[in-house]
């Protein structure tokens, strides 16, 4: 009487829980996508600054647009209309410009007002002014004469000097007021998104807006090409999603075929999905609650990891004896199942201690997912199909599995030999075992990356390759400190150690510098007297200088510009070069065309600027990943020991624990060696895949051997589980995305070896 009631109650509770979880997913889970989630969020200020710079820096937020085809007039028209439409979306775009009049006017007003604080000038003597006036006269006698008013309002050329860094940094050439490519075949636009270029959802939104706007304004002959980090992010995500979709279909069909062969009916096939769905929903909901944004990588990769939860219903269903309730079978294997799940969760939980936001998410997602799935397999599945019976035919297959396991046992000495050989390979390959390039984790299409590189050079946008990072107590402090590097930078450029540099202080001098310039500005009477002497004998009318005298007078009493008070036109440029990160001010100096990194490093060290660091981005990021990966590896070894401990406690025997864990570890070592031999450097995600193998291997070991945990084992069960895993991940190994393929290969090889090795060292049946 009690049994059916509690089963029904359980089912209702499960349905209610699923509904709550689904509601949670809808209500709180936010999906984003960011590769930099796989960069550390701890470490030194320089490291964090680097991550932040990569993630939020201006370079990553720029989208480069090129309008091609049609006539020049059509392109120009489309360019102007497009800019106007994009500027209307100011909550999405911080900047949308085609170099046209609007941008120029904003800059001009700002530069004019602050020109005497922004332009480097220290002497205002009559002699210096006279030299200026003579040059002005030359200009007035040239075809430029008609701008005489503007020239004499600024006789010393301060506006030009203040504008120089801006003009130099605003790359492409202009034709009829808009930017065009060097040969004039394309109209160019520059768009800066507010969100990170690595955030797939935000970038997809931005690209959609741009494409829609373009469709509205462009003549049919025109095409729009978009490059930049954002475009790469979106393309990469789409590529992964596309191949994941196709492969998932193939995967599901193959796995379903295997399971159908085993069960010979549809109900257990569908029932097997229940634990997986329960786990997936629980994982998504809990991760959504814990983290502000769930990255797409976590979701995709995490789903893949908890895909192994398909094993749990297999273990439960196949163990049902003729005439036995599925619930009784589940109870019978519950200790072995529990140990397998705990082992796997221990493996995944190493990710929780990493400082990579992405991996922590993955750890939480996978652990919760597996716990949920195993509970569903243990309790919900039996309630759903209490009276299901395996096909009688299966006992024959059981016998075959038994025989195969026995054959493996005879070849058990091959295992230590293979492991020793693998250790040898790993030792010899030493340095090339790991691949710590960030792009190895990135599924970005190479062609688009190359295209973006070409477009960036058309635009004159700095690439993120080498940086000087200067840290100060606040932004103003960092700005001031970075000015101390200017002599070093000049020298490096003069000696051709670097091609060029770009720093915030060129656009916005520190308050100290501005105050010094203010102090050098003469009083009105002094300036007037100097100007009179300078103009003696020259044909100028003194009244033409009135605006100049007024501007200098005003500049003497202006409040200096600070990073926090700069006008919006300036902010777009500065935000990429000067930031507040974890309470510190950080100035980034972009270096391009670095010829002599050694010299740069030495001169920066010798510059006497205390908190200045030379960073080669690729190398620094690789260093971070390597550092992190080493930590994960150490944690994994600890996890391995912990697994052995838990298994030993579960089996109440140290020897048994070691006997189960060591072959699994051997499988991991051989898998790693095989991958290295195939020329795949191991990435972080490969390490995660190896953790998965550890968990899988524990499952196989627990169900293959006779440890007194399960009465009446079904030797077939682990073979079926291994078959589905190898098939599923084998399909993934054929993915055109290198990242997916490498993980697929790792898990399929690993699962195969884990099965073989644990089978070889399993106990023969005691009965």
């Amino acid at each position: 009487m009690r049994q059916p009631l509690s089963a029904r109650g359980l089912l209702w509770a499960w349905v209610a829980a699923m509904l709550v979880l689904a509601a949670l997913v809808v209500a709180v889970t936010r999906f984003g996508g960011s590769l930099t989630a796989f960069l550390p969020n701890s470490g030194s200020v320089v490291e964090r600054a680097l991550v932040r710079g990569l993630h939020k820096g201006q370079a990553s937020r720029l989208l480069l647009l090129a309008i091609r085809g049609g006539t020049q007039d059509q392109r120009a028209h489309a360019s102007r209309q497009l800019v106007r439409r994009l500027q209307a979306h100011h909550q999405v775009f911080a900047l949308a410009t085609n170099g046209g009049q609007d941008a120029a006017r904003g800059f001009a007003q700002f530069l004019t007002r602050y020109r005497y604080l922004l332009a480097p000038r220290t002497t205002w003597s009559a002699a210096a002014l006279r030299a200026d006036l003579k040059r002005d006269l030359m200009i007035l006698e040239s075809p430029a004469a008609l701008s005489s008013g503007a020239i004499l309002a600024d006789p010393t050329g301060a506006l030009q000097a203040a504008g120089r860094p801006w003009i130099q940094s605003m790359g492409p050439k202009t034709r009829h007021g808009i930017w065009v490519s060097p040969r004039g075949h394309a109209a160019l636009l520059l768009v800066e998104t507010r969100q990170s270029g690595f955030s797939a959802s935000a970038q997809r939104r931005a690209l959609t807006i741009i494409h829609k706007a373009f469709m509205r304004v462009a003549a049919p002959a025109l095409t729009l090409q978009i490059g930049g980090t954002g475009a790469i992010t979106v393309a990469a995500n789409a590529k992964v999603a596309r191949s994941a979709r196709i492969l998932t279909v193939i995967d599901v069909m193959l796995v379903a075929a295997i399971l159908f062969f085993v069960y010979r009916s549809l109900a257990p096939l569908l029932g097997s999905l229940v634990p997986l769905l329960t786990g997936g929903l629980a994982a998504t909901a809990v991760s959504g609650l814990v983290f502000s944004e769930l990255t797409v990588t976590t979701l995709g990769f995490g789903t893949m990891l908890i895909g192994v939860a398909m094993d749990y219903p297999t273990y439960v269903l196949l163990h049902a004896r003729p005439g036995e309730h599925v619930g009784a079978a589940a109870r019978r294997i519950s200790r072995a199942l529990g140990l397998a799940v705990i082992a796997m969760v221990i493996g995944f939980s190493t990710m929780l201690f990493s400082h990579l936001a992405g991996l922590v998410q993955l750890g939480v997602f996978a652990s919760v997912g597996l716990l949920g799935a195993s509970l569903a397999a243990r309790f919900i599945l039996p309630s759903l199909m209490p009276d299901w019976q395996p096909h009688a035919d299966l006992s024959r297959w059981d016998g075959r599995a038994q025989a195969a396991t026995a054959a493996m046992r005879r070849g058990r000495m091959a295992v230590p030999i293979a492991v020793l050989a693998a250790l040898g390979v790993l030792y010899v390959k030493g340095g090339s075992v790991w691949n710590d390039h960030l792009h190895a984790l990135s599924p970005a299409p190479r062609a688009l990356m190359a295209e973006t590189g070409r477009m960036a050079s058309e635009f004159g946008v700095p690439g993120l390759s080498s940086l000087l990072v200067v840290i100060g107590p606040d932004r103003e402090g960092a700005l001031h400190a970075s000015e101390g590097l200017v002599p070093t930078l000049r020298r490096l450029k003069k000696d051709h150690a670097i091609g060029s540099y770009d720093l915030a202080a060129a656009y916005l001098p520190s308050v100290a510098v501005q105050t010094r310039r203010q102090a050098a500005l003469p009083r009105h009477a002094v300036l007037l007297a100097n100007l009179r002497r300078a103009a003696a004998g020259l044909p100028f009318r003194m009244r033409a200088f009135a605006p100049f005298l007024a501007a200098v007078h005003e500049a003497r009493h202006m409040a200096p510009l600070r990073p926090s008070t700069v006008p919006p036109v300036m902010r777009a440029k500065l935000s990429g070069l000067l930031m507040t990160i974890h309470g510190h001010g950080v100035a980034f100096i972009h270096l391009s065309g670095v010829q002599a990194p050694g010299v740069v490093a030495r001169l920066v060290r010798d510059s006497g600027v205390p908190d200045a660091h030379y960073v080669v981005v690729k190398r620094a990021v690789s260093g971070l990943l390597a550092h992190y990966r080493t930590a994960l590896l150490h944690d994994s070894i600890l996890a391995g020991l912990l697994m052995a401990l838990v298994i030993a406690m579960g089996l109440r025997s140290w020897r048994e624990g070691v006997r189960l864990v060591v072959p699994m570890a051997g499988a991991i070592i051989v898998t790693a060696a095989l991958l290295v031999l195939m020329g795949h450097g191991l990435t972080l995600l490969n390490v995660v895949a190896l953790l998965l193998i550890a968990g899988l291997g524990m499952g196989y070991a627990l169900f293959l051997g006779d440890h007194g945990l399960i009465s009446e084992r079904r030797p077939l069960a682990p073979w079926v589980c291994a078959a589905t895993t190898v098939t599923g991940f084998g399909v993934m190994a054929t993915a055109p995305v290198a990242l997916l393929a490498s993980v697929g290969l790792t898990v399929s090889i690993g699962a195969l070896l884990a099965l073989a090795f644990t089978a070889a060292w399993s106990h023969a049946s005691r009965s």
């Binding site: 007035l140 040239s142 004499l152 044909p539 100028f540």
Partner: protein, 160 residues
């Protein structure tokens, strides 16, 4: 209007001598200049000035190169130059669209003796330039008179 441009772009001599008198409000006496103007399709204008200074100004696309220098400065910094470029280049290249984009145009007189007045459309240009008046006889340009809001004006005579 397109007919005039057609005539000019085919008939006009693309190298002419000029005499220019510039009255600048900020100078006590006018500046007299002379030299040659040379137009090369599609968009290069070379102004060779013999007085008051010997100088060569080459305007190519939107950049101004002074005295064979390799580094040009953007024309946008010299609205006065834009007037010459747009007027001259627009006229001689036969590119009406270019002219109409930058200026409101008005054509008066007969094909034998015509007068074309240009008023800038763009605000940036308006601040530096009030109007450009070009007089011509058939396919020959005779004078280009340019006026600026601050009272500066210039008369350029194209010599036959």
């Amino acid at each position: 209007m397109p007919a005039l441009l057609h005539t000019l772009s085919r008939g006009v001599s693309h190298e002419v001598r000029f005499v220019e008198v510039n009255h600048l409000a900020s100078l006590r006496h006018p500046i007299r200049a002379h030299g040659t103007l040379q137009f090369r399709k599609p968009h290069t204008l070379i102004m060779t000035q013999s007085a008051p200074h010997k100088a060569v100004y080459r305007i190519e696309g939107n950049r101004l190169f002074v005295n064979h220098s390799e580094r040009g400065v953007p024309v946008s910094r010299y609205p006065g130059v834009i007037a010459i470029v747009s007027g001259f280049e627009g006229l001689l290249s036969g590119n009406y669209a270019l002219l109409a984009h930058d200026f409101k145009t008005r054509l008066q007189g007969t094909p034998q003796s015509w007068r074309l007045t240009l008023h800038p459309r763009l605000a940036a240009l308006k601040r530096a330039l009030t109007s450009v008046m070009i007089r011509g006889q058939g396919a020959r340009l005779v004078t280009i008179k340019t006026r600026a809001p601050n009272g500066d004006f210039s008369d350029m005579h194209i010599l036959p």
